[in-house]
């Protein structure tokens, strides 16, 4: 008897959509159905963005032993509203030498690309806007468009800092896309599907109380960590925020943007962060499934957003902790550490698949990743690049 | 006009545009862009024939395009590396200026 209302709560949005779609003529139903999904995404994630900006500023403040915004509204929760009004009423300055059309299109393209990525994210049971056969591929393809938007912004501004920022951003995004895709490839291999819905579904089972999440395997854990590091770089978040390093190149590729376009860049960046966190959750953290079998009565969409908020908190935590990398450190890290480790994770996932269940495969897979990690780390640290810093002074 | 004919016409027009560009433009990078366009025109043909032709379950056209995309990526990488190497020596990307071997 208790099962029914729980399931209804779980599917409440799906049922709501069906109920709404039922009111339109049959011919228009597919259009209306997808429009409803789009509207839900367009409403939900910017709201999450607004909430996250407060969360981030308050969290960072607490890490630095200060309060953060607490004046606008209760606990400063209306701060994003004030920020939004501020950026909307500001003058929109376009440099005289800027390439006007490209300059105008760049933020729009970035935000559009970021929104498109949400189409394949299953935010709950039966709650993906589209179930694409090649969902993960779609996600990365759309992500590639964001790179172009960043370049357009940097180039069209006709400003050396913008161009530098754009070059840095592209170099970084291309470099980190390799480990990002390779580490998700391990999951794709294990799940045997490119569909995000299918991958999330594969992880929904339980052994005892433990879920079948890929993160709960040695290669999955390593893959998840690599994925999140690459995701941090991909979304230009600290400590990989070289493209917009305030202390070096002002604001990087959006130096010449003001007012609402600046806000759009901000929105695009955060949307990208949510989207890639959502993909990380889908691939490694079991999507919408509950972490323990006795917690399945909580609706699936609550679990997805709880995990999303947890990952956002980790992003904020990292931003509050780590200093920005240098460009050569960034590239060395991508190609000399991330890439070999991501390849190893892939091999390890294959080994995991073909070894029989038991302690043996745990040990083999763990050793396969841990030993190269230690050796690689030692090699990198002994090299002069990340060695102990020596200072030289002008004589 | 059947859908297949439409696809083929679009593809041949795309090929002609790429060819015309590659022949008339003198920047090496633009020549490369023209070549890319011609390659993509061929890809469109493969996909169109896979879609409307017989034996679509064999996926031949599709896989050919997949391989072709991979080759195109490699070609672009090597081609641009060549252009950059030449630019470093001659400080130009004009294909007309690259006439050192002309007798």
């Amino acid at each position: 008897m208790t099962q029914a209302p729980v399931q209804q709560l779980d599917q409440i949005f799906v049922m709501l959509k069906h109920w709404l779609v039922g009111y339109v003529p049959a011919a228009a139903q597919p259009v209306v159905s997808s429009l409803l999904s789009v509207v839900a995404i367009l409403a939900l994630f910017p709201a999450l963005f607004a909430f996250t900006t407060v969360l981030e500023r308050k969290g960072l403040g607490r890490m630095q032993n200060r309060y953060g915004p607490n004046r606008v509204g209760p606990f400063g929760l209306l701060q994003p509203l004030a920020d939004g009004i501020k950026s909307l009423t500001k003058e929109d300055v376009v440099p005289r030498t800027a390439d006007k059309a490209v300059h105008f299109m760049a933020p729009l393209l970035l935000v559009a690309a970021s929104f498109l990525a949400y189409a394949v994210l299953p935010v709950g049971r039966n709650m993906a806007a589209v179930n694409l056969d090649a969902g993960v591929l779609y996600f990365f393809a759309v992500g590639a468009v964001a790179e172009l938007a960043v370049f357009m912004a940097g180039w069209s501004s006709h400003n050396k800092y913008s161009l530098l920022g754009a070059m840095r951003a592209i170099a970084q995004m291309i470099s980190y896309e390799v480990p990002l895709i390779l580490s998700s490839l391990a999951v794709i291999m294990a799940a045997g599907s490119l569909s995000t819905v299918e991958i999330a579904g594969r992880q929904a089972g339980y052994s005892g109380i433990w879920p079948h999440w890929y993160v709960l395997t040695p290669w999955g854990l390593a893959g998840f960590l690599l994925f999140m590091i690459a995701a941090t770089a991909e979304t230009n978040r600290s400590p990989f925020d070289l493209p917009e390093g305030e202390s070096e190149i002002i604001a990087g590729y959006y130096t010449e943007y003001s007012g609402f376009k600046f806000a759009l860049f901000f929105l695009g960046e955060y949307l990208g962060m949510f989207a890639i966190s959502g993909l990380g959750i889908t691939l490694f953290l079991g999507g919408w499934s509950a972490p323990f079998s006795f917690l399945t009565w909580i609706p699936s969409w609550i679990w997805f957003f709880a995990k999303l908020l947890a990952l956002i908190a980790v992003f904020i935590w990292m931003r509050g902790t780590l200093p920005r990398l240098r460009m050569d450190q960034l590239m060395n890290f991508a190609w000399k550490f991330m890439l070999p480790m991501a390849l190893l994770v892939m091999v390890s996932a294959g080994v995991w698949r073909f070894l029989p269940h038991g302690v043996l495969r745990w040990i083999v897979c763990f050793v396969m990743i841990a030993v190269p990690y230690v050796l690689l780390g030692r090699g990198l640290l002994q090299g002069k690049k990340i060695g102990k810093r020596t200072y030289r002074f002008a004589e | 006009m059947t859908p297949l004919t439409g696809c083929l016409l679009v593809s041949s027009l795309l090929f002609a545009i790429g060819l015309g560009g590659a022949l008339t433009r003198r920047s090496a990078i633009l020549v490369l862009i023209g070549i890319e366009l011609m390659l993509n025109a061929a890809n469109l043909n493969f996909i169109a024939f896979w879609r409307y032709g017989p034996h679509s379950e064999a996926l031949t056209g599709m896989l050919f395009v997949i391989f072709s995309i991979a080759v195109a990526a490699a070609e672009a990488a090597v081609g641009l590396a060549l252009i950059i190497a030449i630019y470093r020596h001659t400080k130009t990307t004009d294909v007309q200026e690259m006439d050192e071997l002309r007798g």
Binding site: G59, R62, M63, Q64, N65, R66, Y67, W317, M318, G320, T321, L322, F337, Y373, V374, L376, G377, R378, L380, L381 | -
Partner: protein, 190 residues
């Protein structure tokens, strides 16, 4: 091992984050309009003019000598000397400033006017909440706005005011001492 430092750093920030909720002492922020830090005694901002007694016009120590006007590096002081004279604190007849304006939007708080003033008439204020919506008139202070009592001076810079008063008293005593023998002589002659 690679990543050790990162874990340590993450632990440190986590401690700060959680600690700030448990231990209010950690939060060093003083939430300004409601609470404020006590100002240091030597704090200074913009100059003001001191007057003795109750009447700003009568008790103003300034004698319009215009030294401060000449010394002011950004030239933010404007003084117009009076035609008539009035007695100063020791009773001597002196000019007084008919107009004494300071443009605080120009003033750079260098305190040179205070140092050069021979009459202890100009001092630095500690008032800093001076924002106004009139950026020309609102920041040009006239004599009436600048004049403040000696008691106010005592309240903001007690030590310095004490020293100044001691010096003034000494001077007054000297003048009185000079006046006394003269008086005695006069009496003797008489």
């Amino acid at each position: 091992m690679l990543g050790e430092g990162i874990v340590k750093g993450l632990a440190e920030t986590a401690r700060n984050f959680l600690g700030s909720f448990v231990d209010e002492e950690r939060l060093t922020t003083v939430e300004y309009p409601e609470e404020r830090l006590p100002q240091a005694e030597a704090a200074r901002n913009f100059p003001f003019l001191i007057y003795d007694g109750d009447d700003a016009e009568k008790g103003l120590r300034c004698v319009a000598c215009q030294i401060c006007e000449k010394e002011c590096p950004p030239r933010c002081i404007h003084i117009e000397k009076s035609k008539d004279k009035k007695p100063d604190y020791v009773g001597k007849q002196q000019f007084y400033p008919a107009v004494f304006d300071i443009d605080v939007s120009v003033c750079m708080s260098c305190q040179i006017c205070v140092e050069v003033c021979p009459f202890e008439a100009i001092r630095m204020d500690t008032q800093f909440e001076l924002s106004t919506d009139d950026r020309f008139g609102g920041l040009l202070w006239t004599k009436a706005e600048l004049a403040k009592t000696n008691e106010y001076y005592h309240s903001i810079h007690p030590t310095e005011a004490g020293e100044t008063d001691a010096r003034l008293d000494e001077e007054k005593a000297k003048v009185a001492a000079k006046a006394k023998p003269a008086e005695a002589e006069m009496q003797a002659k008489a």
